[in-house]
Symmetry: D2
Subunit: 399 residues, 4 copies
Amino acid sequence: MNTSDTPHAPEVGAWFIGARGSLATTATLGIHALALGAAAPVGLTTETDAVRVEEFPAIGGIVVGGHDISTTPLDERAAQLAAGGMFPAALVEATRGRLRETEENLRPVPTLTTTQQEEIDLLAADIIDFRDRHDLREVVVIDVSSTEPLPPYHPCFDDDDLLQTALTTPGVRVLPPSSRAALAAIAAGAAYAAFTPSASLTLAVLRERADRAGIAYAGQDGKTGETLLRTVLAPMFAARGFRVQSWAGTNLLGGGDGATLADPEAVRSKLVSKNRGLHALVGDDVVAPLHIDNVPDLGDVKTAWDHVNATGFLGSRVTLQTTWSAYDSALAAPLVIDLVRSLSLATRAGHAGVVPALGCFFKDPWGSDVHGFGDQTAQFVAWVHETAAAVAAARVAAP
Amino acid sequence: MNTSDTPHAPEVGAWFIGARGSLATTATLGIHALALGAAAPVGLTTETDAVRVEEFPAIGGIVVGGHDISTTPLDERAAQLAAGGMFPAALVEATRGRLRETEENLRPVPTLTTTQQEEIDLLAADIIDFRDRHDLREVVVIDVSSTEPLPPYHPCFDDDDLLQTALTTPGVRVLPPSSRAALAAIAAGAAYAAFTPSASLTLAVLRERADRAGIAYAGQDGKTGETLLRTVLAPMFAARGFRVQSWAGTNLLGGGDGATLADPEAVRSKLVSKNRGLHALVGDDVVAPLHIDNVPDLGDVKTAWDHVNATGFLGSRVTLQTTWSAYDSALAAPLVIDLVRSLSLATRAGHAGVVPALGCFFKDPWGSDVHGFGDQTAQFVAWVHETAAAVAAARVAAP
Amino acid sequence: MNTSDTPHAPEVGAWFIGARGSLATTATLGIHALALGAAAPVGLTTETDAVRVEEFPAIGGIVVGGHDISTTPLDERAAQLAAGGMFPAALVEATRGRLRETEENLRPVPTLTTTQQEEIDLLAADIIDFRDRHDLREVVVIDVSSTEPLPPYHPCFDDDDLLQTALTTPGVRVLPPSSRAALAAIAAGAAYAAFTPSASLTLAVLRERADRAGIAYAGQDGKTGETLLRTVLAPMFAARGFRVQSWAGTNLLGGGDGATLADPEAVRSKLVSKNRGLHALVGDDVVAPLHIDNVPDLGDVKTAWDHVNATGFLGSRVTLQTTWSAYDSALAAPLVIDLVRSLSLATRAGHAGVVPALGCFFKDPWGSDVHGFGDQTAQFVAWVHETAAAVAAARVAAP
Amino acid sequence: MNTSDTPHAPEVGAWFIGARGSLATTATLGIHALALGAAAPVGLTTETDAVRVEEFPAIGGIVVGGHDISTTPLDERAAQLAAGGMFPAALVEATRGRLRETEENLRPVPTLTTTQQEEIDLLAADIIDFRDRHDLREVVVIDVSSTEPLPPYHPCFDDDDLLQTALTTPGVRVLPPSSRAALAAIAAGAAYAAFTPSASLTLAVLRERADRAGIAYAGQDGKTGETLLRTVLAPMFAARGFRVQSWAGTNLLGGGDGATLADPEAVRSKLVSKNRGLHALVGDDVVAPLHIDNVPDLGDVKTAWDHVNATGFLGSRVTLQTTWSAYDSALAAPLVIDLVRSLSLATRAGHAGVVPALGCFFKDPWGSDVHGFGDQTAQFVAWVHETAAAVAAARVAAP
């Protein structure tokens, strides 16, 4: 698997749920381009001066694999994204060989299983096989698939015995795909991150299983564009004692995400997730209408307009409008790489359970009620250095 | 001076250089409106839950005085501002009695003095008289006058003996008004803050005099609108590892400030001050054209448009536009009150010299190279609580 | 009714459906302020150099009356609007006497009638009484009430006999308020304009009645802000041969209109009406998501953001964003006055039936498929001068 | 010259002053791409349904030639523009053969001539040779070179004898390049258009020469982006009777144009030209600060922000912000082709002198004081159809 132009031995596996989508393709191409020196490490939090530690796995030491229901080859998908302007076509050429090598690590999602447990076992077996074949120290599973509609409540979401019965009863289907993938990660002993707002580990019974299994995990819903901006701006209003009255937002996007989020059911979990931080930061009574519109001609560029109205000193009015425009997958892909490196670090340090210090990467941070991006960043920086020091100390202490 | 409806005895003096301008009028009316309970303490950093300590002087305990070359009565100026929409006309009515009382504390700037030292002595005498008449624990002098052109260099800016000779030689005029006002504050033993980008204490020889005198002081140039926003947003780009390529800005404003800044000489110091933080945060090579246009019909509302272009992952483009619109004096006035309270606290705690922890209030923070607003806020919060604790401890220890 | 400071005898009646709402109050106060010389005729199309003719009724010759279910006095409503910043409080003072005189011309909407015909007869009687009492040459009825939900279809909408049966059968309620008001105008022989997107004269059977009655009428849905802007911009793209791919819009507003349009049923007719011109101008396949959000803190100011994406030469991308911010009632009120004057002119010229040349005032112009604002304006200007010339010629010819 | 895949015989010459710049390269590539059917005629006014007439020369019948001081091959320049995203790289491939053929028609600007007349004669000879070699019915010279600083006044600008003396005196240099190029067009009997704001034919004595020579000509300064938008929007404010108080603008651009316009001398004529239409449409007293900033990282995309503040009914405030973002050369290139076709049509119809009906293409229309884009478009449409009818009639009348 290793090629002559890579100085790094395979070290850590990145296993993507939705491995052929825009985001995973961009992340995979990015890992290869960075390993080859064909691109600079711009956009990566883990490569900033404030964060970088040598205990992170080298980018060149990350091997990519994953599941997807699609069969579009990675290099074909990458060429489409390049045509849309996300990255230069030359990068597709530069990484084509490695993208084809990665193809060998991609697996279809099993279908036609009798029970959901059977599917989960097959998924887990793929992950374990990937780890073994590449002799990886650890694997980090990251769910980067499309947003799902939330599943209807079922009592087994709160009862492990009921869950096990349901999973093993032929024909019974209680868990959505994101939760099945999460159980596969748990079964494989892999670290796990939920980059989408789907059900995933939010079901209480699954969260308990993850904790019992002792894996490191984090979530939920990558904080990429408009929400990032909001959690940067809202603390400003709070620090200055303004009363934010309304914060209206409209998102325009095309691409696959635009089509997915045109479905009112799928968009619901997204909208809730997007507004959670805002309410936490400026209060529950802020008026915050929020729309996501599918505008196919905009392609992979997401444009978000926000309008903030606040009351300042002596009742005077303050308004702020922001228009943010960026390729959503290009915002998300480096965060996915940052999460692979961070959960690898956590795993090396023996961390079990949720990692609240990774909140800066998520719209809806598990295990944390800190939403302000500045505070989250400070937490992450501190955690990285503490954890790296612990890893370094353990390495020295080992014989 | 105290009126029957104030529960607070006079405690601290706020002495404004430019006491009849938009900003000082808004701050003065605001102090009275808050003391009377006619307005809520919105927009005040020192009244947020994270900052508030009881060692701050009560708003009702602040007595206002100041110098100005204008003679427009405060209530007339306030009525003009209310007509422009800055605050409700009802607040002018509610505070008219107190504004008229404040008139008695306002003094003209001495003219026709033979030497600059003579003017400084007269200015200082006004401040001392104000303190004595109201029996104030301390006075905080805040320069809120219009931005001056920077003075031509003179060797006495770096040599105390030369300065003293110049100040005492009839007909010689080396120091601009802001620096004379700062020397008056030093002579009166008052704390001092420079809310404008004028020369003020930036001359080395004056800075040394302030340090020798042991006053608490801070500066420079209030961070109110566009610059506040920039120092909130720039750390986001840095934390995420983006390369900011350009950050262009245009400010439209009318009112007195618009007219002042239409003068290319006066605007120069402002533009330098506005861009300093940006360069510190995202690098010296960012392309940052910046304009301030006088648009009289916009009155006291300042509208600022910024356009940021950054490079993200794999060279992908990220653009952000912001349009900020607010009454500039209404943004600045609460910061002036926050500075009065903070420099009063510093003085009570025996702080001598520059107070770097007040950097969150300034575009160009003296004594600090921290420009990110989040970090500055964290510093300020920590400083307030430490300093308040020291004051409280001293009070307990005293007989 | 005439006051000593008015040089104009009562000439024409303006009868507002929704006479106590924001829009009618602004129009009424405006008529009085203009008549008194307390305001300049800014914002009136009929007072621009290109349009003004002396055959228009003088503003001072317009007498205002109307129906409303509310009982809030006009001067109280006007004071609320002034407090929100729509116009200076001094104008309320200047017109208070006349607003109180206008009160005498306002009538409640009849309730508890046995049949809808009975209600229509009572409404018509009020209009006739108004005309007689003030000895008016003609009355123009303008529906400026809140947007209604569209009524469910009923066969009588297409059959005059069925309609008459329904109207006269006790307890049967088939017509919505806007259509009953329109029938009252027809019965009173008054000219009529529909300034809202409600059902009104869009029902075929009512349209035929209006035509048979020979009244001049026009509609529908005042073209005030975002839609005005769109029908100005869309012809530019068409003239230059661009392909507009998407035109997304978000409207934020508070006030009464915001609350009304927060109702999904009421908003439906509004959204359809708003997008009709856009599709006519740039094609049916443009992607045009459109939202109206109720944001109470914004009060009567409506803020609309539009994002246009077009393809230009060789496939290059052109994007345009617009943010329009204005007091919606202040945009609409002068158009209402323009319509009173224009329909008065049409009536004087003996015009019977729809007046397509008034399309520049409407989002959804009856009798016209011209949507571009420039073309509509040219039509209106030509029509005014032709019609005025006809009136002048008839006056000369008369003995 | 004709290639087997072109059904059109050479018919008309387009001679570009600045033939290797971004704009001419885009226009040249566009002509070839359209002729080959590799691109759709989007963005061309002369291909809209309202305008198209068969008397226009076929796109495939246009032969391109020109002068330039640069020697960069067209296909290399085109590849650079494609890399910047202006058009797909595939179009460069599709037209490479034709671009290389065009190379043979490009000539350097003569240098080291003793007199300016000598240079003009050489330039004219190049144009005549081009016409003869390709057996063209007429040639249209279009100045698309960079904006020049305006020349200092010289008496010969108003006196033909003085001019002739100056032009023929060795070492005397009075005319800037744009005016020399215009004289060459006159000498060659070619139609002429000034697409830049340079001196060109604005010198009275040159204008007279053009009129005496009987060529068809038009100018000045292509109306592409922000100014187009302004002349679309300003008539809306005027039609509705608003008083526009201020119209502030900021343009950000990189590319060659950004660098040129960073020179304060060069930008002066541009700024004057840009604001002329605005003042004509909304009055001379509008406050209209305008900036052009060189922002290299934005490349060929120009982003323009405008802020309009107007007073409406009863003094209420209306604000409009627009952000326009487009590849400037892609906006301009189709207009250049439209001008070639329109001046060809004028020439065929025997039109001598300025063509005021082409005002819709220019910021500063020669021979016209109509600035509103809607009115200009109507004029152009009428002129095209009248002129085409005259050409058709003459053709029928001819033996």
